[in-house]
Amino acid sequence: MKRSYLLTIISASVLLVVPLLLAALLSSKGLLSQLDARNLSPSWNHLFGTDWLGRDMLTRTMKGLALSIGVGTAASISSAIIACILGLIAATLGKTADRIITWLIDCFLSVPHLVLLILIAFAAGGGMKGVILALALTHWPSLARLLRAEILALKVAPYVIISKQLGKSSWWIATRHMLPHLLPQFIVGALLMFPHAILHEAALTFLGMGLSPHQPAIGIILSESMKYISAGMWWLAVFPGLCLFIVVRAFDMLARSLYSIIDPSRARQ
């Protein structure tokens, strides 16, 4: 059992590293327009074909993916930190704090996610900064809620109550009894945020609220390809879309397998 999880983790990680490596290795010459090589369908010279400006789609896709992964990482790390802080505060600082934060979580969850993303990205002035800000500020609520519930449940667990009553310090209880429960949840929750963040980044960019058109982002590639897909240039949409799907799925599988391994009650020796 454990071996197959490990295998999944390794292969998923490889799938995630490949676009990063390719993005670094491929020269940015492919991003320049080559008017003599326009609208080429996939061939050995251009694996993913070229677009209407003669730009190599493989280069564009890989650079776009690398950008997406970067933006996703930055956004989910900041979102995870927000979730961690707010979850902790809600569960430990008393009723008023809990009520305010629960209300905030409900607020964020009740607005359609995409609308909120667009609003924040727009208010922040768009571009890279707007996208990262919007992603970071909207992905924390479910993880914060999860952490809060976990801590509240742990606080009334019999072994926590008795160790408090038998004089263990709060620090001891927090690090020995609570942290081992929370850490797997937190890591997996943060990892599962990646695919969301990446997809939302693509969505924002697709809608034109995100990165500027000259940056090779998956969302931009996909939105531009819409114009040409009716002219039979299927490769403009299929390959970048497929790559985005693979990256998102790889993150998802990575997180789920990791969870199965680090959760001791599910691990088998």
Partner: protein, 264 residues
């Protein structure tokens, strides 16, 4: 001097009915008990007689809506919540009723070693595992991997290594096979001989009579009688209270008598 003295302890649970009237439900009424160092006091009673509540009130584990009155004295000083924490578990140890009291994500061996106050934790853990016939390999397991009986033995181990002056054992024997249950009782006796006071809460009056010095009988939160364990022999002629006698005589190996009106 008494190590633990319970004076006129009453516990009631407060609740509100559907018309928002406050109701109090008394669960323990004016109970007085004391345990000396080196003594085993058994507390027997049917389910719901308030045995576990008594243990929890000593440890300060009762929920907030419990109204408690009466006085608890430990080692000559009143036992408050604050003092309980200061005693830091090296004076009072609990053998809980349920495996829920083990941290599900900590290896059992480590949990036992945490409780060791004197000596090398690892050595002490190995010794106590041997004493309770637990395989040494069990130390590396998580609580969910243990069988019910093994988990119970781990709970007993934790109390045994703590070196506490008072051990409150809340139903430590059910789920253990005959041999291990006897071993556990034997260890209790050894610890009592070394000066540990043991509050042995059980519904097994035979086991209580076997190792305890005195047996307190609880029924619906009231103390029926405190009898010397030697009274629990034969047909129970030496037992004063009719309920105690009924409880004793109801056992299959005694007369299996059903007395109407005492247990609903």
């Amino acid at each position: 001097m008494h190590l633990l003295d319970i004076h006129q302890l009453s516990i009631a649970f407060e609740s509100y009915d559907f018309r928002m009237r406050k109701r109090t439900m008394p669960v323990i009424r004016e109970l007085s008990l004391s345990v000396q160092a080196g003594e085993i006091l058994a507390i027997v009673g049917a389910s719901g007689s308030g045995k576990s509540l008594l243990a929890h009130s000593i440890l300060g584990l009762l929920p907030e809506h419990a109204a408690i009155s009466g006085k608890l004295t430990f080692d000559g000083q009143p036992l408050t919540d604050k003092r309980m924490r200061q005693l830091r578990g090296n004076q009072i140890a609990l053998i809980p009723q349920s495996v829920q009291y083990l941290n599900p994500l900590m290896r059992v061996g480590q949990q036992v070693e945490e409780a060791v106050r004197i000596g090398n934790p690892k050595l002490e853990r190995q010794k106590v595992f041997e004493r309770f016939r637990l395989p040494q390999a069990a130390a590396a397991m998580y609580p969910y991997q243990l069988s019910g009986g093994m988990a119970r033995r781990v709970l007993v181990c934790i109390a045994a290594v703590s070196g506490a002056k008072l051990i409150i054992a809340d139903e430590p024997t059910p789920g253990l096979d005959e041999q291990v249950a006897q071993d556990t009782l034997l260890v209790f006796q050894q610890m009592a001989d070394q000066g540990t006071a043991i509050l042995f809460i059980t519904h097994d009056s035979t086991a209580a009579a076997q190792i305890a010095d005195r047996v307190a009988v609880l029924h619906s939160g009231e103390l029926m009688e405190i009898a010397p364990a030697s009274s629990f022999t034969g047909e129970g002629a030496a037992l004063v209270h009719p309920y105690t006698r009924a409880l004793w005589q109801a056992l299959p190996q005694n007369q299996f008598i059903h007395v109407k009106g005492w247990q609903s």
